[in-house]
């Protein structure tokens, strides 16, 4: 038996890979900084899905996979809070959330 409930591991990994590349596209191609953050959240979700799928199929008796997934949750929450605070601060100063307009630090 290489599966749980008739499901092998591979489809989960393919869905996670799809979620990751969709998030990558969103993070690189969007013109709104909030949408860029949404892409990053999708990528973090894909990583978490991979971690939990591998935990379930390869090492369900170890806590390592779940612990890493928990830390990804924490980092995602911190990243979202700081990222959105930055975006709101930028919006107050520039009246724009376009990442391409943030070139004040260019020499």
């Amino acid at each position: 038996m290489n599966s749980i409930n008739g499901l092998p591991l591979a489809p989960f990994l393919v869905v996670a890979a799809g979620l990751f590349v969709i998030g990558l596209y969103g993070a690189l191609a969007r013109k709104n900084a909030i949408a860029v953050l949404m892409g990053v959240e999708l990528m973090l979700n894909a990583v978490n899905l991979n971690l939990i799928a591998f935990w379930r199929y390869v090492a369900p008796n170890s806590s390592a996979g779940l612990a890493f997934a928990a830390f990804v949750f924490i980092v995602a929450a911190a990243e979202a809070a700081v990222g959105l605070a930055l975006i709101i601060s930028v919006y107050r100063n520039l009246r724009s959330v376009d990442p391409e307009k943030l070139d004040q630090m260019k020499m």
């Binding site: 290489n2 591991l9 979620l19 969709i22 369900p60 911190a78």
Partner: protein, 220 residues
Amino acid sequence: MLTFSTVIFVILAVVTLGAALAVVTMKNVFHAALMLVLAFFGVAGFYVLLEANFFAAAQVLVYIGAISILIIFAVMLTRGVTMARPNNEQSGAVATASAVLFVLIVVLVGPWKINFPGFAPLNLPARAFGAPPEFKMAVQAVSPDALQRLGRALVDQYMVAFLLAGVLLLLAMIGAVWVARERKLVEIVKERREMAAEEAAAAVPPAPAAEAVATTDAHH
């Protein structure tokens, strides 16, 4: 063989990937944020399928309950923005690169090889990197006290990481409040004037500036 789990999996995959595609393509950012909630729900469904019930609950609480709400708040606080186009100039190239990356992950890293040893498109992984590891052993059941063991591991094996995570959350909270704080107009005007003065000082040619410093030093 079409089991109940397979049907659920296919529905979840379609909903999650469809919602994710909507997140990155929708013109209206608010609608994209709502689609993001749907994608998070789909991932929570996958956690249930993978028998990680605690993480399904945490996904709903943390991602849908906290992060999505934060994103929706940010969208509403930046309402005045209208974009001519939702995507930037390099979006076509990025889409191509993402699609290529997806194909590379699926074919080269080879999740197919792990569970379907007979099905390997072009047999690329075996040629390029040698035969990939196949685990033949049966998938074990999750022990009923998995969550208790996770909790014990967090304060034992991963104690340092756990403490650092707490520090990270505290710093992120303080940092977010500090960065997004409402500032008084007086402060902003003062800061702008200082910046303008610095820019004016930088615009002066270097030799007279050095002279000026020298004279002020002599004066003092």
